[in-house]
């Protein structure tokens, strides 16, 4: 019992310590924050102007802004979570982590908390800029419902990120490439710039298996269409189920990949 409590306490302390580093590191240079907001805005602005020139209905501007904001979480999951262990290996920190009593799960949890908080400030800035510059309109009364869907989406995405981290620990540069590959297909299938119902039925079925697609669709339905949380039962149920499944998978995968990487001597193998 004592050992379990001590293990949980180490895990929490590790998570808090790692989250602190991430939050402090991510915000120590204010100009970075500015870049991180402006950079995705360049692409988003292009699509907003394209919609303007094509004569799209005004709600599409809101779709694009929310899509861009949610996509920044996906990028954070891929590059801030998935490739984390790979980067730690490349910079020579991973061996220090491995010999310390800090559990890897704690490190990843800290990464998730810190990364999500950092990304939240960027995503919110993006939404504010979308409202100010492009006159994007959202239903303020739907914020509580949107918040529930948003938090559920984050929990699925970051548990998925933990699973990816274990894969990239093992496969290094191939894992890095996999992260690149998981950008555009997910952007397309999640309906980054358009509602999911414009996709053919087959693709909508595939999209319904992606947490980002479900989350983004739910948030759009609340903030733009004005639906309440009780209208989004299937979204909530799917996101909760996915969180449980991905947590179990990530935990097992992490143990397995760590063991395999140690066995094959890949933990300190760099530039491969």
């Amino acid at each position: 019992m004592l050992a379990l409590r001590s293990r949980k306490s180490t895990l929490l302390r590790t998570a808090i310590a790692r989250a602190y580093v991430r939050i402090k590191g991510g915000n120590r240079e204010p100009s970075w924050i500015l870049w991180e907001v402006i950079l995705p805005l360049l692409m988003i602005s292009s699509v907003v102007y394209a919609y303007h020139s094509l004569g799209a209905p005004p709600k599409y501007i809101g779709f694009v802004i929310l899509g861009g904001a949610m996509m920044s979480f996906w990028f954070n999951v891929l590059w801030g979570m998935g490739t984390t262990l790979y980067w730690e290996k490349e910079t020579g920190n991973l061996e220090a982590f491995m010999v310390s009593p800090a559990p890897i799960e704690g490190l990843l949890l800290g990464m998730a908390l810190g990364g999500a908080l950092n990304t939240l400030t960027r995503a919110l800035s993006m939404i504010v800029m979308g409202i100010l510059f492009f006159d994007a309109k959202f239903d303020v009364n739907a914020i509580p419902s949107a918040l529930v869907i948003f938090l559920l989406t984050l929990s699925v995405l970051y548990t998925l990120g933990m699973g990816l981290a274990s894969l990239y620990l093992m496969y290094s540069r191939s894992g890095w490439r996999a992260s690149e590959l998981l950008q555009e297909p997910i952007m397309f299938l999640s309906g980054l710039y358009y509602p999911l119902n414009v996709l053919p039925m087959m693709l909508q079925v595939i999209a319904s298996l992606l947490p980002l697609a479900i989350g983004l669709d739910g948030i759009r339905k609340t903030l733009i269409i004005g639906k309440k949380i009780w209208d989004l039962g299937p979204h909530v149920l799917s996101l909760i189920t996915m969180t449980v499944i991905f947590t179990l998978i990530a935990k097992r995968l992490l143990k397995y990949m760590e063991h395999k990487a140690k066995k094959e001597g890949r933990l300190i193998l760099r530039w491969m």
Binding site: E29, S31, W32, W35, I38, L39, P40, L42, M43, S45, S46, V47, Y49, A50, Y51, H52, S53, L54, G55, A56, P57, Y60, E90, T91, R173, S174, R177, E180, L181, Q183, E184, P185, M187, F188, L192, Y193, Y194, P195, V198, L199, W271, M272
Partner: protein, 278 residues
């Protein structure tokens, strides 16, 4: 100038670029890898058009052509830009090779140009695949009347100005390990915004339109569209071509001079090997 020596260097550096890009996997996996991103990228933009058609109930082939050609051929410029600009970050922070490259290769500027060549070639392939897929998805049943010699000339000019622009960006990136990748990414995003890619730049606010005027991308994209289909309406092809060539020449001269100055400055300041950990 020893042309043979120059070509040998060009070949060696291009080979290095190719290996760095592709030797982590099997060739077939690599081909799938490089195609997947632009393929889904073009689908993303094609479905913007589909969404509008569904919302408005109207089909507009000229808008679809504009959107698809822009998004497809952006691959060429985006890829070339990435190929040159990312080298500094990769070699300094990731592989820790920049100092060795600097002392072994006769000119860092020449090295950067050579590193980008493979990316342009890949860019052509990706643009072609994207164009075919994009036109199919949007259901564009128009007969394309390409002007291949003009397309080739325009691609060459595009590679020249884009490489020059990339050299300028790289020289800035030499100063900062922290901001280098951000500058590189931003330039790609900026070209997408002000380059007539998925909407006409005339829609931009005045201050952004001025930036669009300063970069040859606007003309390059219009000439590319015209060279793919000569029925594409443009004001005057010769005026556009002239404007693009003049801007390209300015970029070539400016990038050469700017890089030399920055190169000198960066050595004086000792920032050449200052990586993220510093």
């Amino acid at each position: 100038m020893d042309v043979n020596k120059l070509l040998r260097r060009l070949y060696a550096v291009s080979w290095l670029s190719w290996q760095e890009l592709s030797n982590w996997t099997h060739p077939l996996v690599f081909i799938a890898y490089i195609i997947v991103r632009p393929l889904f990228g073009i689908l993303l933009y094609a479905y913007i058009y589909v969404a509008i058609v569904i919302a408005s109930g109207k089909v507009d082939p000229s808008s679809a052509f504009y959107l698809i050609t822009g998004a497809s051929f952006y691959n060429y410029i985006g890829n070339g830009l990435y190929g040159v600009v990312w080298v500094i970050h990769d070699e300094r922070d990731h592989y820790r090779l920049l100092k060795y490259t600097y002392i072994s290769y006769p000119s860092l500027q020449g090295y950067l140009i050579a590193r980008g060549l493979v990316y342009y070639l890949i860019g052509i392939a990706l643009s072609t695949v994207s164009l075919v897929v994009g036109l199919a998805v949007t259901g564009l049943g128009i007969q394309l009347l390409p002007n291949i010699p003009l397309l080739i000339v325009n691609l060459i000019i595009g590679a020249i100005w884009c490489t020059s622009l990339s050299i300028v960006v790289s020289s800035l990136s030499l100063f900062s390990s922290e901001y280098g990748p951000l500058i590189a990414e931003s330039m790609g995003g900026l070209l997408f915004l002000v380059g007539n890619v998925i909407f006409p730049v005339e829609k931009l606010p005045c201050w952004l339109y001025l930036i669009a005027e300063a970069i040859p991308m606007k003309e390059w994209m219009e000439i590319t569209r015209y060279s793919i289909n000569v029925n594409y309406p443009i004001s005057n092809i010769f005026d556009l071509l002239f404007s693009e060539i003049v801007k390209t020449m300015v970029y070539v001269i400016f990038s050469y001079v700017f890089f030399r100055i920055m190169d000198k400055l960066v050595r004086i300041k000792g920032n050449l090997e200052a990586s993220m950990e510093h």
